[in-house]
């Protein structure tokens, strides 16, 4: 490659910064429109239900599997450490708090991001590069109202319920390991798991999926709606949507946890 070619391909730091700021601005605008559309008619309830089915019911198998195995492996890994201190009975408490406050929301969020942020980016991206989004605008319909808002609402609602299912399956997975492999009493496990949970844990565990659902859907829709460059561009948008949504879930998780600790205090 000649030096001249390299020069053409490199982007100046100023231009790079401008592009990132512009992307952030466009994302903020899309988020604002998606939220404002909740108060404007029509609401596209049918589209919301359809998306809820695709996102919620469609993601159920992976959420059941990942939730169940995460709880099981958490119990398995904790067992050796706890047994060293003679505290194997605390395993239910550990699995319960770990799943409900942290692993349930995050693992479910990452799974749904992998499955649905990519789906939204590729679907809307394909519509964009084939001028279907422009056609929708030309036909007098607001694409953010018809395509973005239903996806945001459906993801937020369904991720909330998927996380509850994941938490429950995680506890069940932990129970299986505790009773079948470690010989603990099942009734004692469930009692301990239930009693160890406090209001703060449940609140934390249920606020997170709402925020994660919002991040997943808005990021997926943003990359889809801003897709350029044909099929290659669709592929690029899909990858970017999954990567950005996954990273943002972990970043948001940290800050939300910190904020909730500040507001609700430590256990």
């Amino acid at each position: 490659m000649a030096a001249g070619d390299l020069e053409v391909q490199l982007i100046s730091p100023t231009q790079f910064a401008k592009e990132k700021v512009q992307a952030l601005q466009e994302y903020a605008l899309l988020v604002g429109q998606a939220l404002a559309n909740l108060f404007r008619r029509p609401l596209y309830v049918t589209d919301m239900i359809q998306q809820a089915d695709l996102i919620g019911v469609g993601s159920l198998p992976i959420v059941i599997l990942t939730g169940g195995f995460t709880g099981a492996v958490l119990a398995l890994n904790s067992a050796s450490t706890l047994s060293r201190f003679g505290s194997l009975t605390l395993i239910a408490q550990l699995v319960s708090v770990g799943m409900v406050t942290e692993l349930g929301p995050v693992i479910t969020g990452l799974m749904v991001a992998g499955r649905n942020a990519s789906g939204m980016a590729s679907e809307l991206g394909s519509m964009n590069v084939t001028e279907q989004i422009d056609a929708m605008r030309a036909l007098g319909t607001d694409p953010t109202k018809k395509l973005v808002t239903p996806r945001v609402v459906a993801t937020v609602i369904m991720l909330f319920f998927l996380t509850i299912i994941s938490d429950l399956l995680g506890l069940a997975g932990g129970n299986m390991v505790s009773t079948l492999l470690l010989g603990l009493d099942s009734r004692q496990y469930w009692t301990s798991a239930w009693q160890s949970l406090v209001w703060r844990d449940v609140t934390t565990g249920l606020i997170k999926p709402v925020l994660f659902g919002f991040v997943i859907s808005t990021v997926g829709c943003y990359f889809g709606m801003s897709t350029r460059g044909g099929t290659q561009g669709v592929g690029r948008s899909t990858t970017q949507a999954v990567v950005v949504a996954s990273v943002l879930i972990l970043v948001v998780d940290f800050f939300v946890t910190k904020l909730l600790i500040a507001l609700l205090g430590y256990r």
């Binding site: 519509m127 422009d134 036909l139 007098g140």
Partner: protein, 282 residues
Amino acid sequence: MPSPTLPLETAAADTRQPSAEAIRFEDVSLAYDDRRVLDSISFRLPHGETKAIFGVAGSGKSTLLKLALGLIKPDSGRIYVLGEEVTQMSENDLFKLRAQIGMVFQESALFDSFTVRENVAFRLMEEGNVSEDEIERRVREALSFVELEHTVDMFPAELSGGMRRRVAIARAIITQPEILLYDSPTGALDPVTSTTIVELIVKQRDVYKTSSLLVTHRLQDAFIMATHAFDRKANKMVALASGTRCEVPMAFLILREGKVIFDGDLDELAKCKDEYIREYIS
């Protein structure tokens, strides 16, 4: 191509002011990055007129249509559509204006997850106050106009390129808009299918007398339109006698490097001495 008998007695009689304009561009300029696409473009489309826009690839033809619809904003200049200045309108106000404009996109831009029925009915369904029976009747009528009634339950992927264009035309005309914008409706089609599409456009022009902008790089399409008219009795497109012009005015606009180099009717085009235009139309 013989066309079916249509319920066209309700076709719009042109009651608008003959001098009123459907579209007016005033010194419109647009650049993408450092490339100037349109350079001080000015032209007007009177009500009821059909204007064919020519130009080589990349001369800004399709951009003109997107500007007229308000899908993109110009860097400078003003655009008036049906008396409204689209360059100053918000997106929400533009949605209302666009309800009076039909657009046929270059690659049809049909919604690929919808059936032909849902595509054609999209605008009516979005209006929300049209009954199911009325939607079905108007979908059938629009599809009958483009002779594709049998495709009503098919998906766009199951249609040929020419059929997709015809469905796109049906979707554009279902609400009988005041303005129609065609973006290369015959692009990448074989000559026979192209003639079918041109006949549909002529039929739409002569029956409904809708003001239209037609972007094309196929001169023969525009010349066929200028020299033919739709005979409602024979229900097909027929050539006009030599020296006669069709009832609906037809004009031509040629773009070169983002500038308008010709804007006039067929007679003026034939008399034009400009070397580039002579070469272009030869």
